[in-house]
Symmetry: D2
Subunit: 287 residues, 4 copies
């Protein structure tokens, strides 16, 4: 069993840290807003720490799941110098590949290992311990961290060097942008045509139009229910990071760029916290 | 066993008619280009007819699988008056819902049944007898035709009144347009980022970015292979019909309309017969 | 002075026919809804005719300004056979190039001249006699018709053979689609940024961002006033014709196709009769 | 006459500084690459300075025209502390509004005035002294700087507080993105239709489709000539800054976002330095 620290007990981090404790690891937690770490400690019998530095000092593995680049940078600046040589820092935040490379270098300089390790699977995946983890970093660092991450992962994979985990997550979000917009237009067209969406989905959901989003979201989309899932504010952050990376690597993402603007339409409708499937609301609600 | 006629022995119709014969039905075929129907008759021991009228005269069920609206209209104008009262005409062509309604009316006037019954599953589905059939029409007409169509279908469903089969197929194509463009942008981004696409797909193909297209097309897309599958010329026909229908029903299809133009880019690259997954070629080839 | 007939006394045709009369031509008018032609005859002292055939029988020049392809086709089918050999038919409707070629052939067969001659300049241009006319047809036919059309034109030009006038009008509409959407996004951004639109337009309206639309529409756009001008229903008809033509000639029109869908958004807001500049309402109103 | 310093003698800054000297001001110049400032001093009889600090020490007005945010920030960090109290810093770089607000604050703290003052009019405007200048800042600072900027401006205007000049320039670029893409599609369609572009432009360039871009760029666009003008790399920088600002102010810019991706297509064709009108090359060259 390993000595683990978890930084950031949000929607994702809270249950992830819980699975580490449940798997028998020694877990120290830290969260900016103290109430959450106290609640966690009470619930899981773990230890909360008064500062990032205190939280990480004895850890073999430090996991973080925060918000955006600046959040990670500010926390990592405190964590890295305070970590033991030979320890490993794993960042589960969806952030930029550039930040990952910057943290990787800082970690090397400090004699510690680093993985960028964004996840997919959402809140449900975090709660059920069924996340998919996409990692960038050294093979031996990955080999050491993977068994620990198994506490909350159904699959982890090493995609390439530092930053590759983040880049892989960006591919994931690009694919989702196209799928969800296509599905939204399809369901909107079906409703406009007077078709019964259940019959339509029954007919098309086994073939070339099938997608995870179709199977898992069509019912709530048709019912105009979006009060759950992966929030548009997060999605737009991810698309922002992705479009910025595309400026560097030269990739052209016309539909991802357009869908990002359509998500801004949904934000203007008040949908900041709605699930990504709410793209359909742009089409259905303004009538 | 039923007396069946099949009109149009193209990539789809040829094997579909073959499955009817294989299931023990009496099959008469007709094809505009005579060579194909002679080949079919030789291969399947069926009968070819010299004209549409002759082909349909004794049939209980007449199936058609032709090209576009005008093709269906010209053939149906000959077939309907020549059919027996009480027979059923099933149109497997992907065509407009308006044509379906028009043919339904003409069939009613002639005392015969009609189903618009576009299929999905592609050439492979036609050859393996594993098509999905989306039908519009009367319930009792569907009930009579379904067991016969079972010769080449893995699933048939009645979506609604005349035209509903075509509308359902349009929903299918709308969804595909978004999915394939998203997947193309994702794989293009992955390559531009220097990632190994196999590792990326391994990591993301079980979650929220999953799609039939991802599972069945990523490898050929990455290898720039498009010489198979569902041709762009057909896809643009389907999107044209869909966008015209959207003008009538008021649906807004921004990404389907845009992807239709991107398919025109691929046509300009010489891709008229390439698979729909060739949207990625726009992004990869011009470098 | 010529013997002229005008078919179609709508928003455009009514004042155009009036200018013909004002210029001293003998004018016979016909309109499907009789009240309008009676009103016109009363106002201008001209003659209204009970049928298309009667209206055109003695004319040297027959002008039409109707709605869409089917309207023109149904009227022309009556007019062409009833016209005198050597007379000229000028169609001012914005319609397809294919229809123009079809009418040109029918006119040739009947021994009459034909011009497709869509106009720009809007209702104001028709009322002030300041239209721009884009013509397709034979040079000598154009030479004969131009002096007569001068009654309501500030400029007429022969662009090429039959259909070229319509194709030129399509170029016009494609350009407008991009300009108005760009201007809408620009003004929307200015308002969101808290800038005074008048100061912004003052600063940018002489340079590389200048357009007729900016000069003539920014004020009403900022005030959310669209109850005038060129109706979205007409614009969508024109874009439909244009996108269909692009399918034939292989042109790629991604932004025109997208803006056409945005116009559908405005129609869904109730904007069928609003001016084309109402694209900004999609951005401003849903907040 | 004023004591002026000009920082950054690029395509724009070099002739702008020249006009200051020509108007009789005392001009000190500084440029990162020394050769250019020596050339300038030789040509204009002005003085070059060995460092930013030395260049600005005695100036009443310091003008800068550099590349992007980080360039301005690094130069301003040296300039502001070295400037005389009461002097004015004018930044002609197209940069972010956030940077403008940050520099405005730093200038206030140092007791100097600040204007963000991006320009339009391009290289030709800089050379002819006919730029348009859009300013953000205090009215009295603007009142002091305007007469000096008159050396190279045909019009300067104060749009609002610090940042407003940059925001106004963003509106300009948003409008251009839509106009140029619309014009590209229009000319591409005209060529595909076999029309003579000169006749088309002759017919439509006085009406609702008119734009500065149409008047000034159609000929080079049709000839596929882009080796001049405002470079795509600069345009993408400007659109990046604009799209980032839109994330903050909530504006939706679907076509600007899409056109930005189309510019990336042109970059992938090798067009980094081509004029913004080269959007048409995407449509014309790949055939
Ligand atoms: N939610 C989801 O379904 C998924 C989310 N993700 C990604 O995971 C990450 C976390 O998401 P989620 O858990 O939903 O987010 P939450 O907003 O629920 O949690 C964010 C956590 O980060 C902490 N935090 C944020 N900024 C700072 C800072 N500057 N300094 C210190 N702590 C900070 C917050 O602390 P405090 O409690 O004090 O606010 C909180 O613990 C994001 O990058 C998201 O994109 C990835 C896949 C799915
Ligand atoms: N309005 C504008 O600003 C501009 C319009 N145009 C184009 O000019 C054309 C006319 O526009 P506008 O005048 O505004 O349209 P209106 O709707 O005002 O007028 C249409 C005219 O066509 C007649 N008409 C329509 N269909 C038929 C038919 N099937 N049989 C006989 N008559 C018919 C109508 O007759 P009835 O009175 O009986 O309905 C009416 O006289 C359109 O193609 C439009 O796109 C071009 C530039 C600008
Ligand atoms: N060109 C045009 O048509 C227009 C340009 N603009 C804007 O004006 C600005 C300048 O454009 P332009 O003159 O064409 O650009 P150039 O590339 O020709 O010149 C850029 C200038 O900035 C200097 N510079 C860049 N980075 C730094 C740095 N980090 N430290 C010090 N100096 C630096 C360069 O110095 P060095 O010589 O050492 O490289 C050079 O003098 C840009 O923001 C552009 O967007 C606005 C309207 C039109």
């Amino acid at each position: 069993m390993a000595r683990c620290t978890f930084l950031g007990l949000g929607v994702m981090g809270y249950p992830m840290a819980g699975h580490l404790a449940g798997a028998g690891h020694d877990v120290v937690v830290w969260n900016r807003t103290a109430a959450k770490m106290e609640q966690w400690a009470a619930e899981h019998g773990g230890v909360s720490a008064p500062s990032v530095e205190a939280a990480v000092a004895d850890a073999d593995f430090v996991f973080a799941c925060l918000g955006d680049d600046p959040d990670v940078r500010s926390v990592a600046e405190k964590a890295i110098p305070a970590m033991k040589p030979g320890a490993v820092l794993v960042d589960h935040t969806t952030a930029s590949a550039e930040l990952a490379r910057e943290l990787d270098q800082a970690a090397r300089d400090a004699g510690i290992g680093f993985l960028d390790a964004p996840v997919s699977g959402g809140q449900a995946g975090a709660e059920n311990g069924q996340l998919t983890i996409m990692c960038g970093g050294e093979a031996d660092t990955f080999a050491r961290a993977e068994p620990v991450m198994d506490a909350y992962a159904k699959a982890s994979s090493l995609i390439g060097p530092a930053g590759a985990g983040q880049l892989c997550k960006m591919v994931n979000q690009i694919c989702i942008a196209g799928i969800v917009q296509g599905l939204s237009e399809g369901l909107h067209f079906a409703k406009r045509s007077g078709l019964d969406p259940a019959l339509v989905i029954g007919a098309i959901s086994k073939g070339a139009a099938q997608s995870w989003q179709m199977e898992n979201r069509w019912q709530t989309m048709v019912k105009d229910e979006f009060d759950f899932g992966f929030a548009i504010d997060w999605m737009r952050k991810d698309l922002r990071i992705t479009l910025e990376e595309a400026r560097r690597n030269g990739a052209r993402l016309p539909v991802a760029a357009l869908v990002d603007q359509f998500y801004a339409d949904v934000q203007a409708m008040g949908g900041n916290r709605w699930d990504t499937s709410s793209l359909i609301a742009r089409l259905e609600r303004d009538l």
